[in-house]
């Protein structure tokens, strides 16, 4: 070695012989020693009357993680939250829509009064304003109900119990126990879910968690699912049970998402990322009494308004783009209609149509705007409609040949397609790999195409 006269080298050379060889033993002795001293301090400071895990806490855990009730309670809570959201969102949704579309009429009248050019009012009102109005009226009420309820469960400390209950399934899939927590985070937002995968230390299991996070329905997709299931699944039965059936349809999609997470994780851990599930410890923190005021403020400000703002910011330009595509003509046909024409055969095979596929493509920046673009697409394709309620949306969709199979395929494709742009960017930042990012988009997309294809073809055969 050339640097022999450097003091740094000599110091380490001298230290080397001082180091004992058995390091494991040394670490144990150091930590044990610290704990002994922590124990002796604690003994002089803490006086406790009874065991620390008793009473209410233990009784609650007895129920929530019980052998027979653990899983039914999870399912019941999920269903209850969605049912409250769906029933509760209906009325305010209609109220908002009525108000916002009344405003649209006024705006149109105003544009007419000042003799604004048709293209301008088309772009601004039918393009931007209408998609904004849809985003607000369809998305705001369910989010304002869903997020506080979900945050409540989070604050109570219920989510670690979910992880505790479900760990065996993740273990079998060769995934990390904490993947259940990152999956729960994904129900809020997939980008946040992908970031939260940092709590998993093993790179192999972390990648699995990142690649499967999109199978957690994020809040950008919840409103679409809720609206479609209310319209189509809800009407399959009488009025009294419609919201129940709509709820069950959304729950079924979520469960399909969880099953897909487990299946794909299992597949990945047996092929691309082979290895043993790594060691993990999960703390079950004490149940805390939630601070209701805090929950309301945080879930409304941090989540609801955040998501809404994102949707608004993206929906406005996307709405404008859709309008432009629908109103620029090449040889008598609009560009929009041209693209729809190309995509239609594939869409038909998958139980959908070209406009639906365009909506998903244009919805890449944010899942929130898939439904608004879809509506824009249908409206610009001919039938002008005053969309002031879910019922009007139902009529619009029925007019374009939707059946419950179409709705089912759209809901499944909403679960199984590429993650939104923000999530893809986050995945790229977290993995620093274009390859994994590409895989994270192609994997669910391929699954989505196959699943909708099979469902549609199967349904066609049965219906025949």
């Amino acid at each position: 070695m050339s640097t022999i006269n450097n003091p740094g080298l000599s110091v380490l050379q001298e230290i080397e012989p001082l180091l004992p060889t058995n390091t494991a033993n040394i670490k144990d002795r150091i930590v044990s020693s610290i704990y002994q001293q922590a124990e002796s301090v604690s003994a002089q400071v803490v006086r406790s009357k009874n065991s620390q895990y008793t009473g209410l806490e233990a009784r609650l855990d007895n129920i929530l993680t019980s052998r027979w009730l653990g899983f039914p309670i999870m399912l019941l809570l999920l269903t209850l939250i969605l049912w409250i959201t769906i029933t509760g969102a209906n009325y305010p949704s209609q109220l908002l829509a009525t108000g916002l579309f009344w405003l649209e009429e006024q705006l149109t009248a105003l544009f007419l009064a000042v003799n604004a050019p048709v293209w301008l009012s088309g772009l601004l009102i039918q393009g931007m304003y209408r998609s904004l109005a849809w985003v607000v009226s369809v998305m705001l009420p369910p989010m304002a109900i869903f997020f506080p309820l979900f945050t409540l469960l989070e604050d109570l400390g219920y989510l670690p119990r979910v992880a505790f209950n479900m760990d065996k399934l993740f273990r079998r899939a060769g995934a990390h126990g904490k993947q259940c927590l990152t999956m729960c985070m994904g129900f809020g937002c997939n980008a946040a879910g992908v970031i939260s995968c940092r709590i998993i230390d093993s790179p192999r299991e972390r990648l699995i968690a990142i690649l499967t996070n999109t199978f957690s329905i994020c809040n950008g997709r919840f409103p679409t699912l809720i609206a479609l299931s209310t319209i189509f699944m809800g009407t399959l039965v009488s009025q009294a049970y419609s919201s129940v059936l709509a709820t069950l349809a959304v729950v079924a999609i979520i469960m399909t998402g969880i099953a897909t997470t487990l299946l794909v994780s299992s597949l990945l851990s047996r092929t691309l990322f082979r290895g043993m599930p790594s060691f993990f410890v999960l703390e079950l923190p004490p149940f805390r009494r939630p601070q209701l005021g805090q929950i309301l403020i945080r879930s409304l400000l941090d989540r609801t308004l955040f998501v809404l703002w994102r949707a608004v910011v993206i929906a406005a330009p996307a709405g404008a783009l859709t309008w432009i595509l629908a109103n620029s003509f090449v040889g008598g046909t609009s560009v929009f209609a041209l693209i729809v024409g190309w995509l239609n055969p594939l869409g038909q095979l998958m139980g959908m149509d070209g406009i639906i596929l365009i909506a998903f493509l244009l919805g890449l920046p944010a899942n929130e705007i898939v439904l608004p673009i879809l509506i824009m697409g249908y409206i610009s394709a001919g039938s002008m409609l005053e969309l002031d309620s879910l019922n009007a949306l139902r009529i619009l969709l029925l007019d374009h040949g939707w059946t419950w199979i179409t709705a089912l395929c759209v809901m499944l494709f909403s679960l199984l397609h590429f993650p939104c742009g923000t999530t893809l960017y986050t995945i790229f930042k977290e993995t620093r790999s274009a390859r994994w990012t590409l895989l994270s988009a192609l994997l669910p997309l391929l699954l989505g195409i196959v699943v909708t294809l099979l469902i549609n073809q199967g349904a066609q055969i049965i219906m025949r």
Binding site: K27, D28, P285
Partner: protein, 78 residues
């Protein structure tokens, strides 16, 4: 005398003392940090609905471990 019982063998409700941790490396460290040091008392609280993982009361906190990990923690039953 070698310890023959591991944390994974202990029935719910029992209380044991940690004798020896066989887990190597970083994971050993993590267990130690949670208070699973030799001599520490651990109470077995509950198993998850499917039997794995199991929750333990360690230094006042409830910690869940997968059974195959708990099997590497040897205990004294007295």
């Amino acid at each position: 005398m070698p310890h023959t019982l591991s944390l994974a063998d202990i029935p719910i409700g029992a209380s044991v003392r940690i004798a020896e941790i066989l887990t190597p490396g970083n994971n050993r460290r993590r267990l130690l940090d949670l208070g699973l040091v030799p001599g520490a008392r651990v109470e077995i609280i509950r198993r998850s609905p499917s039997g794995n993982p199991t929750a333990y009361l360690i230094k006042g906190a409830v910690i869940a471990l997968r059974n195959e990990n708990a099997a590497q923690i040897m205990v004294d039953t007295n």
